[in-house]
């Protein structure tokens, strides 16, 4: 008898190394792939694909029900652009398996509740819409859907809740009606009429102070920039007038009507909207961006009107496609261009409008700005015969309306257009824009062209820009970005500090040390003092001037050269810029040397903050100083300020993260010790272990508090300076009897708005201080209005 080991016996008939976990996950992948890909381009019709898939899934239900449920719930939430494809699929499954239908509905409700709990409101809307379309697929009974909507609309009766909360429930209700309005109205017209009239009264009484802050254009012509709920309401009213006839949405379930109408429906369980909590953060209100109408493409298919429900559905779907595929630019472009209904709607116009809507969205675009530039380039590649023309037309229209365009949006337009041009050899019909040459240079159009040319230069070089624009545009061309060294010319030798500058130049070229530099600088007299300090290290503007001018001039060749210089002589900088006045003066000198090269100023300021030669508050004060008044409305100044604020914010977050991580380490240490308690009774050793970590936490806590206080101070300084500047202007205008609304004023007040919008999350923390200290009732109403609009955003 052969001696077989026990293990051999038990293994007999079983493949030895099968890893149990990989097989099911392969099946899950296959299921996910099948489900996700249905509706894509295929040789068979959508109907037969759906039928086939329903059959496959039905067969897999006994073994993979929970996975199928999870996948379907996820596509409902994350692929809203294919909503009706998946509701049809669920409808077919429900017709074959009533219990599955019920379980799916339950899972969706659970998912909806979960989304609302964690503030995922945008995805929750997709779920609500999906549920409502399930009414069309005979999965959910219409009356129960109406009941859910009744609960949604009744949120508007809640007291002491933010308006944005009521807004969301209203939006979830209204935005589902294009899909299910007809069916709900047919089954429950009285209830629907009641809901619609409640909607109307809510929309009438809700406040809209926030709207001006979110509009891309302040003008109502040619297209009013409507608040999103107002626009949607107009669209639904029109839909109702059209007897809920909606012809744009693809409804695959219509082909299966005979099967689906046999299916048993489920009732939605009563849905109580979760109550408002302190942690609830609702989506911000929006303004609908419109730039095209049917007159813009006279040759092609008619563009649905601004109050048509088709317009709403198309825009929603295109936005969803971008949201799904933003990381994959080629896929995104392809998906956008294969949006169904291509020959019935001017798709290129819709796409361009939706992309600009996102790019110009206030406060911020949903995705990083550069994505939109590259996406548009991909679209041009795929549709070379048509899309570039639409884009050119759009650019022209945006240019024409610059006079009323929000400053932040103009910034983004400048960045987009210059970057776009750099991909197309800067080819543009500049002469078409010669109208701007006769205008005051501070007006929006010439300002825009100047800033575009400056950005184009940054992406190429000065002579290139001179070559690409007509000679008449030279007044708008950027300066040659050369350094201005005040001690450079022999003719300047009478300037104080000239000889020291020469000395310094030679020393630095001979690789002098910091100490040698200090001793050379000792000879610089201090124009602020009668007698020198023994060390001579108090604020001496001339010393700073001589040193910084000379060093920057020597290192002018490139960014790297300048950065090396800052690093090598860091000690000298730190000493000279020790005081607040010192920091300010360093910045002033940097500007004097490099005022022709804004890009260099920006990178130097960045480096000086990061190496702590200057601090953020110094940069803020410098930007508002009288020396910079001439450049105050230039784009680069605001890029510097916002970059400075962002650095401050990132710094606070970084230390906070360090603190949280250290706290977590301590907690883990405690846990480990608690679980080892039986073995180790030595309390003293555990204290010793904690010691360094606890010390670290204390130190980090202090660091966090000090950083947060610096951050708050930065914002207060900025707001204070804005208020001073604007008040000065308003007083001057009122006493002089001149019009307040100069281009400078418009620019300035919008820059103030921009601060609020760009950093709204952080600024929310300071509301009390701002209200009591700065934006008090005594303030001029023009300035106060900006603050009030901001408060209204999350009210």
């Amino acid at each position: 008898m052969s001696r077989r080991r026990h293990s051999d016996d038990s293994d007999a008939g079983q493949p030895h190394k099968r890893r149990r976990t990989s097989e099911p996950s392969e099946i899950e992948e296959r299921l996910e792939s099948l489900i996700c890909r249905v509706g894509e381009k295929s040789n068979s019709s959508l109907e037969s694909n759906l039928e086939g898939l329903a059959g496959v899934l039905e067969a897999d239900l006994p073994n993979y029900k929970s996975k199928i449920l999870r996948i379907l719930c996820t596509v409902a939430r994350l692929l809203p652009e294919k909503l009706t494809v998946y509701t049809t699929l669920v409808g077919l499954l429900n017709a074959r398996n009533y219990n599955f239908g019920g379980e799916f509905v339950e899972a969706m409700i659970r998912q909806l509740k979960e989304c609302l709990k964690v503030n995922m409101y945008n995805e929750a809307v997709h779920l609500v819409r999906f549920l409502s379309d399930l009414v069309n697929c005979h999965v959910i009974a219409a009356p129960s859907m109406v009941a859910m909507f009744e609960n949604f609309v009744s949120v508007t009766q809640e007291e002491d809740v933010p308006q944005v909360r009521c807004d969301w429930y209203m939006f979830a209700f209204l935005s589902s009606l294009p899909w299910v309005g007809k069916e709900l109205y047919e089954k429950k017209d009285a209830e629907m009429d009641r809901l619609l009239s409640q909607t109307e009264s809510y929309l009438k009484r809700r406040q809209k102070i926030h709207v001006p802050m979110l509009q891309v254009w302040t003008a109502d012509k040619p297209h009013p920039q409507e608040e999103y709920l107002d626009c949607l309401w107009s669209q639904i009213q029109k839909l109702k007038k059209d007897r809920w006839q909606e012809r744009h949405i693809l409804r695959p379930y219509l082909a299966f009507d005979s099967i689906l109408c046999e299916a048993l429906q489920h009732n939605l369980p009563p849905f109580t909207p979760p109550p408002h909590t302190e942690d609830s953060v609702y989506p911000m209100p929006r303004v609908i961006f419109r730039m095209f109408d049917y007159t813009d493409d006279p040759e092609g298919p008619v563009m649905p009107g601004s109050h048509s429900v088709e317009r709403f559905v198309i825009e929603e779907n295109l936005h969803c496609i971008i949201k799904s595929h933003w990381k994959e630019r080629k896929t995104c472009a392809a998906q956008l261009l294969s949006y169904p209904g291509n020959n019935k709607i001017p798709l290129n116009y819709h796409i361009v409008e939706v992309i600009f809507a996102e790019l110009f969205q206030l406060p911020s675009p949903p995705h990083i700005e550069v994505m939109y530039t590259t996406l548009l380039i991909e679209l041009c590649k795929l549709q070379p015969g048509s899309l570039p023309q639409v884009l050119a037309q759009a650019t022209e229209m945006l240019y024409m309306r610059l006079d009323t365009m929000n400053t932040t949006c103009v910034d983004r337009f400048i960045n987009w257009f210059s970057h776009h041009l750099s991909n197309f050899q800067f080819r543009w019909s500049w002469e078409d824009w010669s109208d701007c040459l006769t205008q005051d240079l501070e007006k929006p159009k010439p300002k825009f062209v100047r800033e575009v040319l400056e950005k184009c230069m940054r992406l190429s070089y000065h002579q290139r820009i001179i070559d690409i624009v007509p000679a008449s545009f030279s007044v708008l061309s950027p300066a040659n970005p050369v350094c201005i060294y005040k001690y450079g010319d022999e003719s300047n030798r009478s300037l104080p500090g000239y000889t020291v500058a020469l000395c310094l130049t030679i020393a630095i070229k001979n690789k002098a040390s910091n100490d040698e530099i200090f001793s050379i600088l000792k000879d610089v007299p201090n124009p602020n003092q009668d007698d020198d300090d023994d060390e001579g290290f108090t604020f001496n503007p001339l010393k700073i001037e001589v040193f910084v001018q000379t060093l920057l001039h020597l290192a002018a060749k490139s960014f790297s050269h300048s950065f090396s210089a800052l690093a090598k002589f860091h000690e000298v900088f730190k000493t000279l810029a020790e005081s607040d006045e010192g920091k300010l003066h360093v910045l002033r000198v940097v500007y004097e040397v490099w005022k022709n090269h804004p890009q260099m100023i920006a990178v130097l300021v960045d480096k000086m903050i990061r190496t702590q030669i200057v601090d953020c508050a110094a940069v803020a004060n410098w930007i508002f100083s009288s020396e910079l008044a001439h450049d105050f409305t230039r784009f680069y100044i605001w890029e510097i300020l916002h970059s400075t604020i962002r650095k401050m914010n990132k710094h606070v977050l970084k230390i906070h993260k360090e603190l949280e991580e250290t706290k977590a380490r301590l907690a883990r240490q405690h846990k480990r010790r608690d679980s080892d308690d039986d073995d180790d009774d030595d309390d003293r050793s555990s204290d010793r272990e904690d010691g360094p970590l606890e010390e670290q936490i204390e130190r980090l806590q202090e660091k966090v508090e000090s950083a947060q206080s610096e951050q708050k101070n930065l914002f207060l300084v900025i707001f204070q300076r804005f208020i001073m500047l604007l008040t000065e202007h308003l007083v001057r205008c009122e006493t002089g009897g001149i019009d307040v609304f100069t281009p400078w004023y418009r620019s300035c007040i919008e820059r103030l708005q921009q601060i609020f919008l760009q950093h709204h999350q952080i600024i929310q923390q300071y509301m009390v201080t701002l209200e009591n200290l700065l934006f008090t009732a005594e303030l001029d109403h023009h300035i106060l209005a900006v603050f009030q609009q901001f408060c209204a955003l999350q009210a």
Partner: protein, 170 residues
């Protein structure tokens, strides 16, 4: 307290159902097939570094493209820590490549997604993950001092010294 209570990814997303693999696709930010043959360490080490790197290699630059231009373009995806120009080993002049290091990996990823394959100085530039700059890596590895690709290419490229080096010597 940290600003912003909106929860996006992470645990919240998982509890509310996770995501789909087609939506996870991020081909532009994935590692390419290229591996630096001069890298000191194992393939595994190199890939580990590539996956957490904040540094990009940028190729097909014109010899005339400046650090300033590179800074402007790549600054569109985030704050740049450093730009290191690639140099001809002999002439010590720009030879058509550079390294761009970001402070945050996410910014480098966005450069891979949106700047790679677009134009700088009218040329389509190419970006790829780099395991990290080390002294000496700023020099071309071609026999004549420039990049290897400029040794053997047959075409005429005005922005990269004209014909390839081998062609020039014929």
């Amino acid at each position: 307290c940290p600003p912003g209570k909106v929860l996006r990814d992470g645990p919240a997303a998982m509890s509310a159902g996770g995501t789909l693999s087609i939506l996870r696709s991020d081909s532009y930010a994935d590692l390419s097939q290229y591996r630096d043959q001069h890298f000191r360490g194992t393939r595994y080490d190199q890939e580990r570094l590539l996956r957490k790197s904040c540094t990009l290699y940028v190729g097909n630059l014109s010899f005339y493209t400046t650090e300033e231009q590179i800074h402007e373009l790549f600054g569109k995806s985030g704050d740049i820590k450093k730009v290191i120009m690639g140099l001809d080993k002999v002439k010590k002049t720009a030879c058509g490549f550079c390294f761009v290091e970001y402070y945050a990996r996410g910014d480098a990823e966005n450069a891979m997604r949106y700047i790679n394959g677009t134009r700088l100085d009218d040329r389509i530039i190419r970006t790829d993950w780099d395991a990290g700059f080390k002294e000496g890596r700023q020099y071309g590895r071609g026999r004549s001092g420039g990049q290897v690709r400029d040794e053997y290419r047959q075409d005429y490229d005005a922005g990269r010294g004209g014909y390839g080096k081998t062609v020039q010597c014929q």
